[in-house]
Symmetry: D3
Subunit: 254 residues, 6 copies
Amino acid sequence: MTLTDPMKPTQKSKTELPPLLPLLAFGAHPDDIEFGCGAVIASETRAGRPAHFVVCSRGEAGSFGTPKQRMAEARKAASLLGATIEFIELDGDSHLEIRAAHAIKLAAIIRRIRPGTVLAPSLEENQHPDHWRLGKIVRDAARLARYGGLKELKRAPRHVIDQLFYYAVTAEAEPADISPVLIDISAPEILAIWTAAMTAHCSQVSALNYIELQLARAKLRGLRAGTGHAIALFPSDPLVFDSLSKTFHSARKF
Amino acid sequence: MTLTDPMKPTQKSKTELPPLLPLLAFGAHPDDIEFGCGAVIASETRAGRPAHFVVCSRGEAGSFGTPKQRMAEARKAASLLGATIEFIELDGDSHLEIRAAHAIKLAAIIRRIRPGTVLAPSLEENQHPDHWRLGKIVRDAARLARYGGLKELKRAPRHVIDQLFYYAVTAEAEPADISPVLIDISAPEILAIWTAAMTAHCSQVSALNYIELQLARAKLRGLRAGTGHAIALFPSDPLVFDSLSKTFHSARKF
Amino acid sequence: MTLTDPMKPTQKSKTELPPLLPLLAFGAHPDDIEFGCGAVIASETRAGRPAHFVVCSRGEAGSFGTPKQRMAEARKAASLLGATIEFIELDGDSHLEIRAAHAIKLAAIIRRIRPGTVLAPSLEENQHPDHWRLGKIVRDAARLARYGGLKELKRAPRHVIDQLFYYAVTAEAEPADISPVLIDISAPEILAIWTAAMTAHCSQVSALNYIELQLARAKLRGLRAGTGHAIALFPSDPLVFDSLSKTFHSARKF
Amino acid sequence: MTLTDPMKPTQKSKTELPPLLPLLAFGAHPDDIEFGCGAVIASETRAGRPAHFVVCSRGEAGSFGTPKQRMAEARKAASLLGATIEFIELDGDSHLEIRAAHAIKLAAIIRRIRPGTVLAPSLEENQHPDHWRLGKIVRDAARLARYGGLKELKRAPRHVIDQLFYYAVTAEAEPADISPVLIDISAPEILAIWTAAMTAHCSQVSALNYIELQLARAKLRGLRAGTGHAIALFPSDPLVFDSLSKTFHSARKF
Amino acid sequence: MTLTDPMKPTQKSKTELPPLLPLLAFGAHPDDIEFGCGAVIASETRAGRPAHFVVCSRGEAGSFGTPKQRMAEARKAASLLGATIEFIELDGDSHLEIRAAHAIKLAAIIRRIRPGTVLAPSLEENQHPDHWRLGKIVRDAARLARYGGLKELKRAPRHVIDQLFYYAVTAEAEPADISPVLIDISAPEILAIWTAAMTAHCSQVSALNYIELQLARAKLRGLRAGTGHAIALFPSDPLVFDSLSKTFHSARKF
Amino acid sequence: MTLTDPMKPTQKSKTELPPLLPLLAFGAHPDDIEFGCGAVIASETRAGRPAHFVVCSRGEAGSFGTPKQRMAEARKAASLLGATIEFIELDGDSHLEIRAAHAIKLAAIIRRIRPGTVLAPSLEENQHPDHWRLGKIVRDAARLARYGGLKELKRAPRHVIDQLFYYAVTAEAEPADISPVLIDISAPEILAIWTAAMTAHCSQVSALNYIELQLARAKLRGLRAGTGHAIALFPSDPLVFDSLSKTFHSARKF
């Protein structure tokens, strides 16, 4: 069930390049996307790319904040990050199970948004049970969106995404079996937007040191990458390049 | 000891972009670079990037071909791929040991060539003993090239490379613990140049099915990546990106 | 629910050896067994071993082909491979979930067929969601078939299989944590039967390069094993041998 | 340097089958082969297969026993196991280094003995430093024995072994990244010969519980495999089979 | 549903130290805790720590013993080990599924017992399907017990456990990706109590060699640790120490 | 060669407990121990435990500082941490090779100091080549110190250490295959001493952000462990405990 209006992408096309396909990020709770990879979202939307968030619970099992508060916080944070947002209901906060019906529901969203990049929480199981379960459901959904015969999905044409990246809400959620790619988020305005988006989750951050934790993670990654701050993303599948271009460089500086 | 003239890079700078830093590839035997990643070299040099090969033996322990023949074959192959080449002597074919002096010697070459990208054989030990040993020596050399106090290296200023990628001469040499990136080599002219460069190693390919093996590997990788042919490279360190750009896409097509 | 007649094994016993216990292969979709390990089936049935396929959906979510077509194709392919076939209904194509009831249902089939060897899709999760889920259900079913107290299974006596092997429908489905064993399928008649069985899935192979992909995989494996073509299987549990016999040899030829 | 006479294989050929190629086992110290896989040797020699031991030190750095004693003990143990034995000198007990010259020396022995199967200590580094170093040297030697151009090896024709298996002298030396195969050694006479061969190393076993440890390991493996006792070996490369024969069965019994 | 009376902890506080928080052990079947880590329980209860068992089926799918017998055996074994016991119903023996409702039910028990240490079966999937599923449910439950907003759990205040350790019912259930800690259980009275507790499961041990298997495992671990017998536990999360104290020592003795 | 006086342990024994055995830390360069685990040293020495540093080069290949400066800095830092220090010469900075003679030299130091705990740089190879090589040499040395027959070591009696822990000089040097233990270093005086000891390496820290990097690492670890700051150490072998004591707790707080 879609609780908010669907995203209406308004991509500003550039002269030479085709418009960037939207970025679609899934979160299990109202603050997961922001804490896990908010700065990456800010960086993409500032570059003119549409971004859309799908939040799969209202955070109703958390220790702090009412569902209403948390949805308002998430809307504010998404707005700060330049993203549209919708809330869907799967099994409820801390009740998520891996069901085929969930994957089909998310596949329908993928077909509607037609993203280039999809972001989902990582699959490491030693974290909040909703996180990795959602990650697995998104992974399956990205496949189902490509298959032609699923009758529940007939309303929208098949869609093949370019890439699925996992983000890690906490450091222990970082996958041990996928080499990360690092996204440089050192620009002061990106850090400021990210911090503001995390701060928007007032009910969560007043009592805990979540923001400090995320900034420490990003700073440590950045120091290792020879830049200020960086966020690690974990590609589900090998990246394909046309050439060994100079658009990336390696992280080893020490 | 340098047996051939050093590379004289003649980069054609483009108007908007800084000239591409050279690509430097190390091989343990005269044909390793060509068989392991020759198509990637061809793709880079055709895009205007200088490439230089350092071959660390004359292949004198192989079952076929004399050292003189093999050096001639390697020179021809490098020329076909648009690369310069030099031969150095470490411990001799099938006699390579991991020595600090070797790493320092290779670090001096890195300081001389000042590459952006370095290619070396992979570190998986269940392959020809010279391959993984050379890979480890190159990895260490790329570090030593950055350190300021090594007296053997004082002649040339410190140099920090952008990236070290490992190539796998055979399929079983592909690292199990690094996520690959795939380089699309489907363009017919790239495949033709690569095949010609492998064929230049007449002494090796008359009796064995090496070329067929490499083309089958590249085709399989390409089919999985949704393209014609592809070669997997294995980054030593995390890749750093300024944005989740559309310049890459993921490999999953099935 | 069994949609076709159960297999009636008609083993031809040899004088010295006890008759070979049947081979039982499970597939999530009508073409999975054929594409993943069809040549192994052909090799076994030609050696006089009964083989039986259990296909757990009618492929109704695929992009091409109707369920009726696909079942007909599977029946033809099984017949070409010398195997009997039955279709069962679990949750439907692309809807499979891991349920205890499914494992019990498959355990009942194992008790009915009483196989020596069981084949199931591999457990790597980054593939079609039905594949690895079926693999896990089969793995559990092989255990439940041994347990004496399950009341749903009381109709048939307990059965202990000899071996469970996983097959990989695609290369990325090959398990990273199990050492493969390679089955030599180089005999021309085996390759011909396999190709015919894959080709029988007309609805799938007209638009895609599946057959080419599988033959390239098998050729690459074979080249590495010093033979023409080979298929990798992944044993669920350690293989036990009476001696270090000469009936196998290792794959390293380069 | 060869301290004892080379093995003179006296294989008893059977009518139908070609004679079994010799088994060649390398040990870093006089008792390593016996403790690590002595029962497997006994099983092979009783089946008519020649076996030869190459012991690469005289155990002179051990806490107990003189070199002379230890060589005598090893000779007695080899004799009990039905194997011939020779001692060679590399760098001395607890002084072994990985050198190309060592690999070439062992490759020459492989060319002389021309074994089907080679056994070497495992490569896990958290064990006696001589063990894994010897394992790596043997692995490289098995490759060099195949290469045609090594001038030090010209005296004997190239030789391609069938299989290289690693044995684990202690449980913590068992490789984590190779699936084991289990050899059934439950026959009472095999266990008796093995125990006698371990007991022959009087200088080592009077003060320590090595024999008890090895029998406990083998019993635990055997219980898990549904047999009495078993020893795990770890193949360096994938095993290749002509068929999914009934000559092996899987280990899972619980 | 709680079938027996809940534990009433009666900790004997010592003068200097705060009372030890209870140990809470979960088992999928009536004998799993005893076979997997019974000696650890005995060691803790003899040191004055309360222990409570939660058994999640009545073993009704086992090959031997009636549910009534098995519950009586489990009660006797728990009593021998100094632990209280309760039986709960999830999905039934061999029918366990991973459901959010199960995790919430176990979280409620954790909030009721308020343990310091929790023990659960390991997560390796190649074992009895109930074992690893229960382990995953307990892992999730230990998280949910900390979260404030779950309405099903409002009856009891939040509880943060100190540690979750996994035990391995069989050797193949030992996790490959967690470094074990070893608990010394060499004291004769501990071994005697453990053996008695395992023997209490008469219906299981008359026909099988389970006790012999577990004692062999513990002896092998002990020999490697330089002590008589030891049991390996696998911490779910890093252990935190105030200092590198002398209260532990490493296992390497060979 | 020992360049400074050996440590003279002056342990203050407590009434009830035996005196703590010394802590012995090895570093490849003058600042490695301080940056990698200085806070752990401070914590131990403040608890009355003797600590001794063995520095295996004078840092002469670094980009900054002369050997004389760096030795003075290291002496000052050791003094601040409450440790004695000696410098030895192996192959020189950035020239270290893995040689049996080095392991024997370090084993002699272990026999002289007779430590309970040994600290060494981690074995991950993608870091400064001297770090992991020294780690491997120390690991081997800890074994050789136990062996009775090494004639170079006859001057001092055999010594069995309690534990070998690896420290990671940088985050990428953290082992992927060993579960860490975390040492709580949150006490303000410990953090102050550690910072002072790192700052003592003036030649290294003026130009680089090493101190900031290490504090960020420790803070991130601490936040995850529910404490202020923590350092991860990686045990070479399983830790053995007499009981599941309350002296440790797990790290999971989120």
